[in-house]
């Protein structure tokens, strides 16, 4: 019974059951929602004016920045030898509200008030204005369950923005921290480094900010560094989130060759789509999947980084191509040796 569920035929049943559950979930969250509404409606005029001013100032800053953005994206297009600037990778987005219901106390999941009727699909990227939040895992007609990037079951392919090294960020169960467990002790990481999505994995596009490294611990005995990062998105005080649809044919888009929207894990596995990589939880310490990057010209990432993991512990081949930078091959050797 449960094994069949893994093949997905009960997904349909869950779809309808979650439709039935949604009214109750709404009812349970309604006191919180009502209190929020009450708080907003009795806000003083002064507070509203202050907020208005703050927003206006922020808008000005954003406008200034977007002026620069236009120029930069044109320049970027020219540098890449494209005729015009590319359209932004995000096609359109939808704001969703968090339904204040406990999903599971030991997991980092939230329920949002948009579902398949709004075009939401399974494995869709969810973000807020500061950074990435997570992805949808179960979708009902009017609601969807979102797994946050800090859930212990979630693993996210990321890239260190400064060096271009790719790795995987795994949730820890704490809303304030992500772990990077698969980087060798001599990897070039420092506190303060920005982690952005690497575009592998088929869910998130390349280059969206995720977290900032706060602590790097290198133990002489351990082959791997212990790295903690803090998510940029405010995961513990969520109210509204953004569901984003990306252009599938965009070079920075998620590496998923099929049209977005209908594609599920089962579909892709059944059709033998080689570029698809199931998202959550990597099977073993393999920092990034080099093969998935083949279809996409990812920007400025030095190749050695993406090749090193191919020789991760377990594969019988001797370490990565020796012609690559010596740093990475020694890194992979030290990762592979003692493990």
């Amino acid at each position: 019974m449960f094994l069949d569920q893994r093949r997905g035929w009960l997904e349909q049943a869950r779809y309808y059951l979650s439709a039935a559950a949604y009214p109750l979930q709404l009812a349970v969250s309604s006191p919180t929602a009502a209190w929020r509404w009450f708080e907003e409606s009795v806000e003083t005029r002064q507070a509203l004016r202050a907020e208005n001013d703050a927003l206006r100032a922020q808008e000005r800053v954003l406008e200034m920045r977007s002026l620069r953005f236009e120029a930069l994206s044109r320049e970027n297009g020219e540098l890449r030898g494209l005729r015009g600037a590319l359209p932004p990778v995000a096609d359109h987005w939808l704001v969703a509200e968090i339904v204040n219901v406990e999903v599971n106390s030991l997991q980092q999941r939230v329920l949002i008030n948009r579902g398949a009727r709004n075009g939401v699909f399974k494995g869709q990227a969810v973000m807020d204005s500061a950074g990435l939040l997570g992805q949808t895992i179960h979708v009902g007609p009017w609601s969807a369950e979102v797994i946050l990037i800090t859930d212990p079951e979630h693993a996210l392919p990321v890239q260190i923005e400064r060096t271009g090294v790719r790795t995987i960020a795994v949730g820890t169960g704490d809303t304030q921290s992500l772990a990077l467990p698969y980087l060798p002790a001599n990897a070039d990481v420092a506190a303060g480094d920005l982690l952005v999505t690497s575009g592998l994995g088929g869910v998130f596009p390349q280059g969206y900010p995720v977290a900032r490294v706060v602590e790097v611990r290198r133990d002489a005995v351990q082959p791997l560094a212990q790295i903690q990062a803090k998510p940029l998105a405010q995961l513990n005080k969520l109210r509204e989130v953004m569901l984003v649809w990306f252009r599938p044919d965009h070079p920075a888009g998620p590496t998923l060759s099929r049209g977005q929207g209908q594609s599920t894990v089962e579909d892709d596995l059944a059709s033998g789509n080689p570029t698809y990589r199931p998202q959550p939880v990597p099977p073993r310490p393999a920092p990034a999947r080099a093969s998935a990057s083949a279809s996409v010209p990812t920007t400025g990432a030095p190749q050695p980084a993406s090749h090193a993991p191919a020789s991760a512990p377990g594969s019988s081949e001797p370490a990565a191509p020796p012609s690559r930078a010596p740093v990475s091959s020694s890194a992979s050797a030290s990762a592979g040796g003692p493990a």
């Binding site: 039935a20 559950a21 219901v101 030991l106």
Partner: protein
């Protein structure tokens, strides 16, 4: 037993519904971890107090509801809850004759079995299972049991 012709089906559903609301109510994190599985306790109570009123059906339906609400593998809680409901219905006469304190000593292993089944299925289906906090609700459920039975008894016994 059969003297009470009307089985309290309506009340079973209503109390199960209330328990479901209690178990998905948003709470601060530390409280949420210690929250007893109210729906499980309610189902157990009904299968002991009214074993002929369809406790197994209630157990299965509640379990399936929990699966949907918890985003778990469909059938996981249903199997666990049906199993312990079966035990409770089978042994209802022995359990019912005990005082509340001893009842909670019986409920403790039942909840333990429940959580173990959920835990095992989590493990088999590749979810992380290492968190020891998941077992807290077994103890808190047994602690709350006398209170819960007192409340539920009031809901159906003739005043």
């Amino acid at each position: 037993m059969s003297a009470r012709a009307v089985e309290p089906r309506g009340r079973m559903v209503v109390t199960a519904f209330a328990a479901l609301i209690l178990s998905v109510l948003p709470l601060p994190e530390w409280l949420a971890i210690a929250r007893p599985a109210f729906l499980v306790l309610t189902v157990l109570y009904w299968s002991i107090a009214a074993p002929r009123a369809g406790g197994l059906t209630l157990g299965f339906a509640s379990g399936l509801t929990l699966d949907v609400f918890r985003g778990a593998v469909l059938g996981q809680h249903a199997l666990a809850l049906t199993t312990i409901t079966y035990v409770a219905v089978r042994e209802h006469q022995r359990i019912r004759s005990k005082p509340a304190f001893q009842q909670s000593l019986i409920v403790l292993p039942l909840l333990g079995v429940y959580e173990f089944i959920v835990f095992a299925i989590d493990g088999w289906s590749g979810h992380p299972v290492g968190n020891p906090l998941r077992w807290i609700h077994v103890a808190s459920g047994a602690l709350v049991w006398p209170l819960a039975t007192a409340l539920l008894e009031r809901s159906h016994s003739p005043r």
